[in-house]
């Protein structure tokens, strides 16, 4: 495994204001994810998993601490700069798939591709689209809209969309949370293959021990901290 750090956080803190009350969602998270790792983060609701994921996905700015994504310190970046990093380096997979209902599977994948090209970013190489589609067994479903697909198929399209721009890291937020056990297993196997065959770095948050078991490393969070 390479020792290049794809994610590094140092004393990462996040405090929300809920009315007059300060909610400490993250209380000093130190985390390193190296290239090619498949990391699962587990923990009870409200422990700060989603907040951490949003900060790592450059959708949220931390209150303090340092976040480095694939060599770029995003801690104090503007929204525009964080959007740029997200476009270049991050692929998201959500619990609710979050596909465009009006577009076909191919349309959803191509949209992500065009957003990247719109940012005038060159092809970053890596796994080819045809290989991804073959692995995800989506070749025959490209012209279907989300409503015409099962939850498992939709999630596979979402994974393909996340991978199309060859991100430095895929952030998966409860990717099997809306799937039955059969489809959950299929999706998890695909994550595992992506990681093992193509060296894709993946960070997944989950409540499920079974889902976490496919990862190469499991971290547990409680009260805004990663337990050692």
């Amino acid at each position: 495994m390479s020792e290049k750090k794809v994610i590094e956080t140092i004393d990462l803190k996040m405090t929300y204001k809920a009315g007059k009350v300060a909610v400490h969602a993250l209380r000093g998270v130190d985390l390193v994810v190296e290239q090619g790792e498949f990391v699962a983060i587990m923990g009870p609701s409200g422990c700060g998993k989603s907040t951490l994921l949003h900060i790592l996905g450059c959708m949220l700015k931390p209150s303090s601490g340092k976040v480095v994504i694939d060599g770029e310190d995003v801690s104090n970046m503007s929204e525009q700069e964080r959007t740029e990093v997200r476009r270049r380096k991050i692929g998201f997979v959500f619990q609710k798939f979050n596909l465009f209902p009006t577009l076909t599977a191919e349309g959803n994948i191509r949209l992500a591709e065009r957003i990247r090209k719109n940012g005038r970013l060159p092809d970053s190489g890596g796994v080819s689209m045809s290989e991804i589609l073959k692995l995800l067994n989506l070749e025959g479903r490209l012209h279907h809209k989300p409503a015409e697909m099962s939850g498992g198929e939709q999630q596979r399209v979402a994974i393909a969309r996340a991978l199309v721009n060859h991100p430095a890291i895929v952030l998966a937020d409860e990717p099997t949370g809306n799937l039955d056990s059969e489809h959950s297993q299929i999706v998890l196997n695909m994550f595992k293959q992506l990681n093992e065959k193509f060296g894709q770095t993946i960070l997944m948050i989950t409540h499920s021990e079974e889902a976490a078991s496919v990862a190469s490393r499991i971290l547990r969070m409680r009260d805004g901290r990663i337990l050692q």
Partner: protein
Amino acid sequence: MEYELILANITQRPMRTFISIVGVALGVVLVVVVVGLSRGMLKEQGRRNSNFGAEIIFRRPGALSFTSTSGLSMPVQYGPKLAQIEGVSMVSPLGQYLKQSSQGFGVELVDGIDFPTYVRVSSIRIVEGGPFETEMDVIVDRVYSRNKNVVVGSKVEIFGRQFRVVGIYEPEVGARIKMQLDTMQRLLGAKERCSYFYVKCVDPALQEEVAKRINAQLPGNQIIFVRDIPVLYERGSKALNTFLQVVIAVALIVSTLVILLSMYTTIIERTREIGILKSLGASRSFIVRTIQQEAILISILGVLLGYLLAVAVREVVMQYTALIVDIELKWMLYAGLIGIISGFLGSLYPALRAAAQDPIKAISYE
């Protein structure tokens, strides 16, 4: 351009898209038809008023415009004085009255003429029937006869009275209906008065010298060269131009509001999708551009529908009323531009609002 996404969004809510298209189309119709109506009537009137054998119009000061009963303000006693001026060949007084169209919508101009002098000054001739026999007779031109299905012997209503059509004349000159000036004076209570005089010169090439002499001998009145009438009518009056500007502003506001409302509800409905775009790394400008392109596409469709509707309205109006709608390419382009600008303006706020959304809140929007 995100054509696939934009087209998918447009077809997602066909009724809303259709209503937005119709909203823009109505703005286009408003501009094209109202401007066409105003300019069509003016141009037609200018053309017919210039299609005359005389060279000069002599009238009271005031802008050249449609007149009503108050138009009979010039004493006919000016006639003999004009006739004595060197270079004047003939003079004919004319009264003008604006009446409600017999079809209830629109207006029609009626000329009161002194038939013997009018025939000599103008080039009209009676082609069917004959000249006035009684004071309740009128003559009409060929177009009026055809459009209104009026023949010799038919009745037309003017001043709330029935007049008999006794003759059909050619070519088209001035108002399409002509009655005797004496009758018009009596019915309007304007004895010995007319609206203006047509003055025919001995030598048309010397009309400017004749005009100078008229001005010198009968100062304080207005002299208009018949050759300038089409331009004067086309230029329109200040009040009309202001009215047209108001129509354009109303059309722009209506179309903009329709697009604003449509796109605003669209982005509320698509909050989650905007969140997805943001999670994929779409920049603010990408989101703004996508929403604006959708609105502009709707506007373009609205403009095209508006053109079709405007042409249809023109056909119906000209078929069933006395009004003339002159659709000019220039004004169609203006109307199209207004439609597209409304798409741009109307979608600007919703697009900026969408682009400014918090990605986390947007993506968890239910």
